[in-house]
């Protein structure tokens, strides 16, 4: 039996998020103190050694990212927390911020010390306006207690744009512009917010930092899958008995998530597919359920861990209809800057609608495959590159469902 292991959610339900003393009583801010006593090179080496990889979806080694920013020469650097959490099916970052905002602040402060930044931003999605005061209360409490010296954090709101979860689009949004991604290179650790060295990390990534500093890189690296160690929060939705969240080691398999933690499919129905990582994730059929959820093992089956959203659908669902709705999502959320995404997401939605409404043919499926493939390596940013995945994977694993709808 796989077991939950709460690292980022260690204080969930145990503390009052609006009381900093509760956090302190749990050992909060001791890691920041410990970090500040280390020299920054050692601190970064420790984070790197833990092999903590980004929890927002890109999975880049956190310590390595910090080292780029630390090495850059600039009179101002920034730490940004990506709290945009736009991936449908995902609410893990909301859980962390709602219940333990200080773990985020502490993680950001450790990063700021490591890279030499004095200013931080939390980019909070516009759909979480109720968290603005929670975060500001926590920030002010930490300031008042003198715990976050030389590091100011400001909360900035998003305004309803999924693309702002992409780090450079997020940066553009904080700069007060349209949230359109920038081409890379240059990468944010060398040129980010207002062209200064910037670290953008996900809420869940930062929430791990205090524990890594407290218990050591080796401890962390030993949890779960060695190439992608630690835990991951999964939020379950769709046709699942336990429509809730779990934090499990990365060696857990998809089957364990769905059938053990998720409690299986309601109404005794059969499992059809699960989409992991959010709405840009692959649809995974029954045959591949014994895959561990770590980044690289998912990659090997043509899937992504992404945000850890787990969207289950049962045998009674029209998967083409679901994929059509998702195609509509991407058409709505494309920023419009690059041609293959702007036009490609619209065409994908149009073709899916055609097939879904019973007017499609094999030719349309072939075109969707070609279009999706081209988009996956030509688009300017991750949104356009990942958008075709739901369509491509449902075509691959559930071709019969498409054919059943042909004219």
């Amino acid at each position: 039996m796989a077991e939950e292991m709460r690292i980022v959610l260690r204080n969930y339900g145990k503390i009052d998020p609006l009381k900093i003393d509760d956090y302190l009583a749990q050992g909060g801010y001791k890691s920041l103190e410990k970090a500040r006593a280390m020299n920054t090179a050692d601190l970064i080496a420790e984070v790197k050694k833990s092999n903590l990889r980004g929890r927002g979806g890109a999975g880049f080694n956190c310590g390595m990212k910090w080292s780029f920013a630390a090495g850059a020469q600039a009179e101002q650097k920034y730490v940004i927390c990506n709290a945009d959490e736009g991936e449908p099916g995902t609410y893990k970052d909301r859980l962390i911020m709602e219940n333990d905002p200080h773990t985020l602040i502490e993680g950001m402060a450790i990063c700021a010390y490591a890279i030499g930044a004095t200013q931080g931003y939390i980019y909070l999605r516009g759909e979480y306006p109720f968290l603005v005061s929670t975060l500001n209360t926590a920030i002010n409490q930490a300031k008042e207690k003198g715990l976050v010296k030389d590091f100011d954090i400001e909360v900035r709101s998003g305004a309803g744009a999924y693309v702002c979860g992409e780090e450079t689009a997020l940066i553009e949004s904080i700069e007060g512009k349209r949230g359109e991604p920038r081409f890379k290179p240059p990468y944010p650790p060398s040129e980010g917010l207002w062209s200064k060295p910037t670290i953008v990390n996900n809420v869940e990534t930062f929430a791990n930092i205090p524990v890594i500093i407290e218990k050591g890189a080796d401890w962390y690296a030993g949890i779960g899958n060695p190439a992608y160690p630690g835990t991951k929060v999964f939020t379950l939705t769709g046709d699942i008995n336990n429509r809730t969240f779990f934090e499990v080691p990365t060696s857990t398999t998809i089957r364990e998530i769905v059938f053990q933690f998720g409690g299986g499919i309601p109404g005794g129905k059969k499992f059809k597919a699960v989409q992991i990582g959010g709405t840009s994730g692959a649809f995974i059929p029954e045959a591949l359920l014994d895959t561990p959820v770590a980044f690289d093992s998912m990659s090997a089956i043509g899937a992504t861990l992404g945000s850890g959203a787990t969207f289950v659908i049962d045998e009674s669902r029209d998967i083409v209809d679901v994929a059509t709705r998702i195609a509509g999502f991407f058409e709505h959320e494309s920023c419009g800057k690059c041609a293959p995404c702007r036009e490609g997401t619209a065409r994908t939605a149009e073709l899916m609608e055609k097939i879904n409404e019973g007017r499609g043919s094999n030719k349309d499926v072939a075109l969707l495959e070609k279009l999706g493939t081209v988009m996956s390596y030509s688009c300017l940013c991750g949104l356009g590159q990942a958008a075709p995945a739901p369509v491509l994977t449902t075509i691959k694993h559930f071709k019969a469902d498409y054919e059943a709808k042909f004219v």
Binding site: A161, F183, G336, A339, E343, R347, Y377
Partner: protein, 574 residues
């Protein structure tokens, strides 16, 4: 230097170069659409994508910097399929009316469709359905043709600082629109037309008036006359497959007669005239403590800009009309009299490198002759179309002279076409008027070139006159801010709305790079150098005009016909 391999060919380029730059060093032309050599890198069309070994994603050649040992492949099957698909996507959303389009034959998207052999499009043809915007008399916008490359926005906001264009919406619904989504005429647009040059396709163009011209020619009651701006001759050659500057003036005049003009005269005549009027106006302000610095007023895009953004500084503008409008007023008074032609029958056409001139000619106050002074403005591009329509072989046409009374000009008039030319022409005359001496070397090198802001201090026998010259409106804005703050050190400022001056005007052959503007500038100064008369006050026809008609610069007749006033535009949203 960085060493890399492109399509198996080794190349060495400086650090910081892009794949696109490196490829052009070894003769590999990677196709582009949103890329513009004089603008920031956009990387949004993705047409220039290439394979870079070690990377699953294709990289945009225009943006990707090279690294040591990089291995690039620009035409693998994966790349070709990607480019073709991207073009198909853009084309399936693009009006299929090449045959009727103003950029037929000169369109970057059309070129790519040809190069990539797009015969059939797998995507359903679907146009967005915007209404075309014909709200200004100078240019039109056709949003359905927009491919969202954003080059026009950069031209309007960065190069011109007018900011009349921006984006609206997101994703498939995004579009380039005038301010607040209004009609162009209600935006700050000054009609300079630089957006036309920036646009790779036919989404923006001039208000074509060829039909009006042909109707006038066909009308037996009309005497159709023309004036040609100095910037036109050097560029018209480009419209008909010749090299910049290669069209001899005499052949050009013959060509104009062939397409239907009854009389061919020259704006250069009135440019010389402008110098007499404006030079004296400057001297008057200097002597009598008039409003300084004085700004030139021959660029209607600049006048629109001043009326829109700096209405508090309208008194600084010279009251002289532009050469086009001075000509217009005189053609239906002085010239009509000299020629014994009924002015009501004269249809006065000007050929301009400019689209804002279409607006200028239609200004209600430009009727001092008793009629609309200039009836029609045709751009260099429209004349090019008329020449091509007429099937003329310019290598064989015999030369022809200009007609009398308003057709002679000096080199000082010719240089009006380039940034700094009006200033240099003015200095050539003002020097001699103030010092009473002959100017031996007429060349004022400090005024020349494409540099955005130039300045010079000219010693007129003890009186030092400080001058500045700006081309491109963002540069003009810098000087204007200085004037507004009361900190301008200059006495006289020449401003041309278009980068490089009129040779880069909105009506010129589609100008894809600043190097072309530089070429045209060189042709202008070469023309000036080859002329026997190079000072405006030496123009014999201008002398006759004063002797017989105007009597003196800034005199009563001049004020009646050759001077004007300006009005704040009061645009609500800037």
């Amino acid at each position: 230097m960085v060493n890399l391999t492109i399509d198996g060919i080794k190349v060495s380029v400086p650090e910081g170069s892009t794949i696109l730059q490196a490829a052009s060093e070894v003769g590999i032309k990677i196709p582009t659409l949103c890329f513009h050599p004089d603008q920031s890198i956009k990387a949004n069309c993705r047409v220039c994508v290439c394979e870079v070994e070690g990377n699953r994603l294709l990289q945009a050649a225009c943006a990707m910097p090279v690294f040591e040992g990089m291995v690039v492949k620009t035409r693998t099957p994966k790349v070709l399929e990607a480019r073709k698909t991207i073009l198909e996507l853009i084309l399936s959303n693009h009006p299929q009316d090449c045959l009727n389009c103003i950029r037929n034959g000169n369109c970057e998207l059309q070129d790519l469709a040809q190069e990539y052999c797009i015969r059939e499009n797998p995507f359903e043809y679907k146009v967005r359905g915007f209404a075309k915007d014909f709200s200004t008399p100078a240019l039109f916008r056709d949003q359905d043709k927009c491919i969202l490359c954003r080059r026009c926005i950069e031209a309007c906001s960065v190069v011109q600082s007018v900011n009349a264009l921006g984006l609206e919406g997101r994703g498939y619904n995004s579009m380039v629109v005038p301010t607040l989504g209004k009609a162009l005429i209600d935006s700050p647009c000054v009609m300079c037309g630089q957006c036309i040059h920036a646009c790779p396709v036919g989404a923006i163009g001039e208000r074509e008036q060829i039909d009006e011209f042909l109707a006038a020619v066909a009308n037996p009651d009309k005497v159709v006359i023309t004036q040609i701006a100095p910037a036109v001759r050097v560029a018209i050659a480009e419209e008909i497959g010749m090299m910049t500057g290669e069209m001899p003036m005499g052949t050009f005049v013959q060509g104009l007669r062939q397409i239907g003009f009854d009389y061919v005269l020259h704006t250069n005549f009135s440019a010389d005239l402008t110098i007499l009027e404006e030079g004296n106006e400057l001297l008057k302000r200097l002597k009598e403590g008039g409003t300084l610095p004085m700004f030139t007023s021959c660029s209607p895009g600049w006048i629109n800009f001043c009326e829109t953004f700096y209405p508090d500084l309208l008194d600084n503008l010279s009251t002289c009309k532009s050469p086009q409008q001075m000509f217009g007023a005189l053609a239906k008074t002085y010239w009509a009299e000299k020629m014994g032609i009924d002015p009501s029958k004269i249809y006065s056409v000007s050929i301009m490198p400019c689209v804002a001139k279409k607006f200028e000619a239609a200004r209600p106050e430009m009727n001092d002759s008793g009629y609309q002074d200039v009836d029609l403005v045709l751009t260099t591009r429209e004349i090019g179309r008329l020449f091509r329509m007429s099937g003329l072989d310019f290598s064989k046409l015999p030369a022809s002279d200009f007609d009398s009374w308003m057709g002679k000009y000096t080199g000082a008039a010719v240089i009006f076409g380039a940034s700094g030319g009006v200033m240099e022409a003015a200095l050539r005359t003002v020097y001699e008027v103030v010092t009473g001496k002959t100017l031996e070397d007429v060349n004022f090198a400090a005024t020349r070139g494409i540099t955005g802001i130039k300045e010079a201090a000219v010693d007129l026998d003890g009186t030092v006159v400080k001058v500045a010259i700006a081309n491109g409106l963002a540069n003009a804005r810098k000087l204007m801010e200085q004037v507004r703050a009361g900190e301008s050190p200059y006495h006289f400022i020449e401003i041309m709305a278009c980068p490089g001056g009129c040779i880069g005007g909105g009506g010129q052959p589609i100008t894809k790079a600043n190097v072309k503007r530089v070429e045209r500038i060189e042709a202008i100064y070469a023309e000036d150098e080859g002329l026997p008369l190079r000072k405006s006050h030496d123009n014999p026809e201008v002398k006759t005009l004063y002797e017989e008609f105007l009597h003196e610069p800034l005199g009563h007749k001049s004020h009646e016909l050759l001077h004007t006033h300006y009005h704040p535009k009061n645009k609500k949203f800037l």
